[in-house]
């Protein structure tokens, strides 16, 4: 794991006056921003914290909330070291800060999010759920965030494989209706945590559902492969889309390239490594359709998680991307919600 020096901590120690002044300025500045808190100070939560602090444009981080004392939580320690307020009482801590927060990022587990969600709703907090709980609708920020109905206050980030592939499937679907999408997500063994390993079916089933519901494929299948090679391989996904015979491949490439640029605006390490090309080696003949192969690779930014763990990086990037997009019309959204 990559740990950054606690710049804020050093500032606090060396020049307490300047630190206080900066804190006040930051708090005032953040009044115009979408105010967020991270619930769950594990690897994902910590990585997201660094992303918000590094490049949150219209999103500010008000607090990091866990359930263990600070001395037992590396994530909470990292938050403190960076001048972020911490809470150690889980949902009670969220209640205590609810008035100063607009949105919570859930970085716990599916079970915990299911139990937290009603409270967020009651407190009027928008929830961006990075667990597989899927209490709210699936969201891929470049695809369907603007289509969300205004009363939606909880969205789910699908899966890492979904975030890396659904926008591409959707881009191709704009050119030629995708009859069937199939993706193979290959991740390094090191970046597959116990949650993924204990419930790998959840990954394949949720990703397939996202490819259909958000990507626009009529049918979909997702496969995940863990590769233990050393040094760890970068996260990569192969995307097969079955479309009508004679689809304009140049138009597909253009659309995919446009979509890639949009994704790169919030996932800098996202890259197409094989431009859409026809697959000629299927082994069987398809009737009236053909298969386009596209491959992408995701290199993490390496704030907290290693660079090869692009699969984790794309989740935190998508969560931040979602919040940034929501921040743009936050006032209207709040007005649209009956509270």
């Amino acid at each position: 794991m990559v740990h950054r020096p606690g710049a804020a901590m050093r500032l606090r120690r060396n020049s307490p006056l300047l630190y206080t002044l900066l804190s006040v300025i930051r708090k005032r500045w953040s009044m115009d921003k979408l105010r967020t808190a991270i619930v769950g100070p594990g690897n994902i939560g910590t990585d997201l914290m660094y992303k918000i602090l590094d490049r949150g444009r219209n999103v500010s981080l008000e607090a990091m909330v866990g359930i263990y004392p600070v001395e037992q939580s590396e994530g909470l320690q990292a938050a403190q070291a960076n001048g972020v307020d911490v809470g150690t009482d889980g949902l009670a801590s969220v209640r205590a800060i609810a008035d100063d927060v607009d949105l919570v990022f859930e970085a716990t587990s599916a079970k915990i999010h299911e139990s937290h969600a009603p409270t967020y709703d009651e407190l009027g907090l928008f929830a961006v759920d990075m667990t597989p709980a899927a209490v709210g609708p699936f969201v891929a920020p470049t695809v369907n965030i603007d289509a969300l109905s205004e009363d939606v206050m909880n969205v789910n980030m699908i899966t890492c494989g979904g975030q890396a592939t659904i926008p591409i499937v959707n881009a191709i679907d704009q050119v030629s209706s995708v009859e069937y999408a199939e993706i193979i997500a290959t991740i390094s063994s090191d970046s597959a945590g116990p949650g993924t390993r204990q419930n790998i079916d959840e990954f394949t089933q949720t990703t397939a559902a996202g490819l259909e519901e958000v990507g626009g494929a009529d049918n979909a299948k997702a496969i995940i492969v863990l590769n233990p090679a050393e040094p760890p391989i970068l996260n990569r996904c192969t995307i097969y889309t079955q479309v009508a015979d004679g689809t304009d491949l140049d138009a597909v490439r253009e659309d995919v390239s446009r979509m890639t640029e949009t994704i790169q605006s919030y996932v800098p390490g996202y890259e197409v490594i094989l431009e859409p090309m026809l697959k000629h080696d299927l082994g069987v003949e398809l009737e009236e359709s053909e298969v386009i192969t596209t491959m992408v690779e995701v290199e993490g930014e390496g704030q907290h998680l290693p660079e090869y763990a692009g699969n984790l990086d794309i989740m935190t990037s998508a969560a931040l991307g979602t919040a940034e997009r929501l921040a743009l019309d936050w006032t209207e959204r709040l007005e649209g919600v009956v509270r």
């Binding site: 390993r197 204990q198 790998i200 492969v225 233990p228 490594i273 000629h280 299927l282 082994g283 192969t293």
Partner: protein, 339 residues
Amino acid sequence: MSDLRLIDMTLRDGMHAIDHQFTPEQMRDIAAALEEAEMDVIEVSHGDGMSGSSINYGFSAASTEEYLAAVAPVLDETQLAVLLLPGIGTAEDIELAASYDADICRIATHVTEADVSEQHFQYVTDLGMEAIGLLMLSHMAPPEKILEQALLMEGYGAESVYIMDSAGALLPSDTRERIELLSADLSIDVGFHAHNNLGLAVGNTLAAVDAGAVTIDGCLRGLGAGAGNAQIEVLLGVLKSAGYSVRPDFFRTMDAAENVLLPMLSADTIPEVDNTSLSLGYAGVYSSFLRHARRAANKFELDPREILIELGRIGVVGGQEDMITEVAAEMAEQSRGPS
């Protein structure tokens, strides 16, 4: 009472050799011949297990359900097994197999990734089926690592654990070392699965049995991925000569191979040790890559051996068939030079 349990995988690993194109009727006829030959167990699935039918691995001629519906009624004393690879198939497939009264579900993971299979072992044992664990590409990990992973599967409820030489890369001494360690330290049975890429399938299987393996895999005519598996009628002759007691009838198994299976095959689907399959074993690459690599070589005008050696060098694992295209495209690009 026989000393050994033989699992015939003509209708599973054999599917790789014919691009997963057995029809349900052909499966039924082969299964009936194997029942007649008093085979202990037959395994039925797409080559990559249930739900393996895909663009990446090849579409099978029929669904898992159609195959099971064709085969289950003709079996009586011979047990029915299915294969599941976590990451490709899911719990739904296990339920399907149970509904067709499959006796055994074999669950396969890469040799270092056994912990992705815990939930699947749970489903299989909950449904009252026998669970067998398969550690694929066993040449890629040292014996101590394999033992650690086998112990995990034993803990999840496996009734036996297999050393799978998926690349046909093990030598008899490697085989013996692995089987001896597992036989000594596991309280469950140990199995062995060979591929013939280095011409050692039958020899390695005999070495495994001598070292303590009590359940072994083979196929009629060796029909399987790469240069095929251990030819099961040959195994019967060898094991009988070596003084082991086996249940299947020697002549009737030969008849199943020659009179029932052989007429269904075309010359290019009968596995053999040729330059390409030999390269699989030498490079330590998953045997089912063979036919995909040949097609990619054809498309990109490359030598399939070079593609396989490169795949071995970068350490691809089972299920990464999509890498064949990427590597081939890259090699073709390089051989063209700067444009």
